[in-house]
């Protein structure tokens, strides 16, 4: 017994010595984004003490980040299963354009227009899922093609014409009003975050989704319905994107062609930054929340510093590269 424990201790010592050097890296990879986030807030607060650390600014950052947040949260679900969806920007536009066009051109009552907008999004998600999970198309190229098609469908509804009047007030209220001081968009983003966190981190389906992402063949041989779950992932992200389409058209009380395209890259950036914190190398909902807020804060802060647009671009890009590489390094050395 004594001999055993002494060898155990030796093993322990070796292990600890090795891990001591790796510890910093591990902490950095796990909480690096959060540490950087905190530093950034500190820097911005010191540089702009009267405008940055204010409740007004907080609210504006949150409202600005909410649409990106909702799309990025939905995206996290498909990314967990190692699928891509590049059609989310077009899906935002489809729901936005369809709901507005139905209300303004066809006199459809706003609740029905809203439901149809969301329904179109879900339908598009089903098509994506069918192409990728059932017909086994490459998700990257399938959803890229679907993006073009969905924007085409959007233009069938709107004929690419800008709409700035005639949107029902009840509809506008959903996106433009505030509740308890925060924009409705922020509350909805919070709701989506909680729902998807519960899905991925507490339910059987969530566990299965992570298993599919880890090893699809082992998941299938363990009796998991891999195709059904992958299709539902595409439906979830599509629903989230359509929801954003509704919120954008409601908040703006109108429609501009292809309104969701600007959301595509921030959504991916947020989700990948999220995979760099809490659970390095794994997409996760709390991570995505932090990632999107981080990007939103940088953008707002740099704008408050009166930096040129090119500078904002450079800084944002550099931060993204560093953060994501950090998490990759940590995963490579378990």
């Amino acid at each position: 017994m004594a001999k055993q424990s002494s060898t155990d201790m030796a093993v322990d010592r070796v292990f600890r010595r090795r891990s001591a050097s790796a510890l910093l890296l591990q902490i950095l990879s796990r909480y690096g984004v959060i540490v950087a986030f905190a530093l950034m807030i500190l820097v911005f607060s010191l540089a702009r003490p009267h405008t940055f650390p204010t409740v007004t600014n907080l609210k504006s950052i949150l409202t600005f980040a909410a649409p990106q947040m909702i799309v990025a949260l939905g995206l996290t679900v498909v990314l967990v299963m190692q699928d891509f969806d590049l059609s989310i920007g077009s899906m935002v536009g489809l729901a936005d354009g369809a709901a507005v066009a139905l209300m303004v051109y066809h006199g459809v009552p706003w609740p029905l227009a809203l439901a149809l907008g969301l329904g179109l999004g879900v339908g598009a998600g089903l098509v994506n899922g069918f192409l990728v999970a059932i017909l086994r198309g490459n998700s990257f190229i399938m959803t890229l093609a679907m993006a073009t098609i969905l924007t085409g469908v959007e233009y069938v509804f709107t004929d690419q014409a800008v709409v700035f009047q005639g949107v029902s007030q009840g509809y506008v209220n959903i996106g433009a009003n505030s509740t308890l001081g925060f924009s409705n968009q922020v509350w909805i983003a919070l709701g989506v975050a909680l729902a998807l966190w519960a899905l991925l981190d507490t339910t059987e389906s969530g566990r299965y989704m992570y298993a599919i992402g880890g090893n699809p063949e082992a998941a299938r041989l363990s009796g998991i319905r891999t195709r059904t779950l992958r299709v539902s992932g595409f439906v979830i992200v599509a629903f989230a994107a359509a929801l954003v389409g509704i919120l954008l058209s409601a908040a703006g009380a109108g429609y501009t062609p292809n309104p969701g395209q600007y959301l595509l890259l921030p959504a991916y950036a947020g989700a990948f930054l999220g995979a760099a914190c809490f659970r390095p190398g794994e997409f996760n909902i709390p991570g995505t929340v932090v990632g999107v807020l981080f990007l939103g804060t940088i953008e707002t802060g740099l704008t408050l510093l009166n930096l040129q647009t090119y500078m904002i671009n450079l800084v944002q890009g550099a931060i993204l590269i560093v953060a994501v590489l950090l998490s990759t390094v940590a995963v490579r050395r378990p």
Partner: protein, 528 residues
Amino acid sequence: MSEQPASAGQASPALGGHAAQAVGSRQEPFIVIKGVVKRYPGVLALDHVDGVIVPGAVVGLLGKNGAGKSTLIKVLAGVVQPDAGELHIDGVHVRLHGPLDASRRGLAVVHQELTDVPNLTVAENIELGLGYPRYVRTFVNRRALRRKAADVLDRLGARIDPKSQLASLSIAERRLVVIARGLATNARLLVLDEPTASLTDEEINHLHEVVRLLRDHGVAVIYVTHRLQEVFAVTDDVAVMRDGKMVFESPTANVARAELIEHITGRKAAAASSPWRPPNGTTPREELLRVENLALPGVVEDASFALRAGDVLGIAGLVGAGRTELARLIFGADIAASGRILVRGRPVKVRGPRDAMRAGIALLPEDRRRQGTVLTFSVRKNITLPTLRRFRVSPPLPLPHFARERQASHELIERLQIKVAHAEHPIGHLSGGNQQKVVLAKWLDSGADVFIFDEPTHGIDVGAKEEVYRLMVGLAEAGRGVIFISSEFPELVGTCNRVVVMREGRLVGEFEDDAITESVLIERCYGG
């Protein structure tokens, strides 16, 4: 025997030892391998292996799966770095820094899986990575490229058009192209790993001619195969590996087929002491599974057998005989083209693993890394994956109860003696044997009555193997049915009460109780 100088005096067999002595006076050895050791977690893949490779000799390298042949080849290919031992090329001690380094030094390996690029032409494949001839250092000179390729193909006596797309060739032709690529690097040693898998007799004969031609040009050849008739047809010298050691070496002409089989399997087979015999009760044992005329053309042909409660049914066969494929059809991992599966006498439609699981069938797949485990998951999450529904917070809510999962995992870790600090440890950090036990743990409490173990002892150490045997027998004792697929026949002989033999997709024999012997199984496998 007496004609062999000094062979009896040799301390331990070495790869190519005789060929070296036979021509040693005339030619310096090309490669000398000295005491090479390679350790993997839980396995000693190479245990002080020696070898001498001389120009112009064909050495047949034999051994069961997992005997260490492929590791030795990987060492020669520069893919794997040995833990100890030396490699001398032309008398100089060298370290191979990777496949490119090995090929620069004249070592070419043709792997069992084709490593060519199907969308390029034959000529482009042959000269791949060697620097295509160019005009003004920029544009590929296709004519010169084709001429160079044609030269190499001529040396092989291969009538293949260098212009044709690789994808349009037969498997045999593609293999020749890969060999040609090795020659184009001016290889002095060519390693052929199972080169005749999936070739017709005629194609095999042609390949043998190519090998003899190369030998006559002074190229050394290591020929790895499972087919004994090929060994006698084409090699000058044979070497046998077992459990990471070089156990036998002789000129091919001096050895008999039966003797080779003995060396391959090991005379004193380290099997379980007494094979499982189901109790001879008066009541007939219930038939748990019946497979009728199951077929997937080209893979499994017309397979029929039955499994009763209390059976440990072995499926013997060589790699590629269709055993894994048969198991996958039964489990619904692949879908059979025709045939029926009956569970407890009732026909079951198996359209996927879920259907099979519902019918009470469990499959422990062969390739645990690719098919059995989720490496990003902890041990607990891997164990509970197929049975997660049992651990709900409350039956109608699909929310797993963490504490219950953990308790069940701990019980299984205890029961199977899985060596892991705690259940939350990532499974990727475990040794091969312990990972295999986690795969067992996944299914042990799944409520299945039919357990299909596909090569469950592959790559795990002797102690862990014994535990796996005991576990299978334990399941049979408890009235379940076990199907045990293995390429190591001693373990089938030592464990099973029935064995069926598969060859080229067909079931070609069935043996019961004391009729199961290693030599009988091997004869049947090799087509005796």
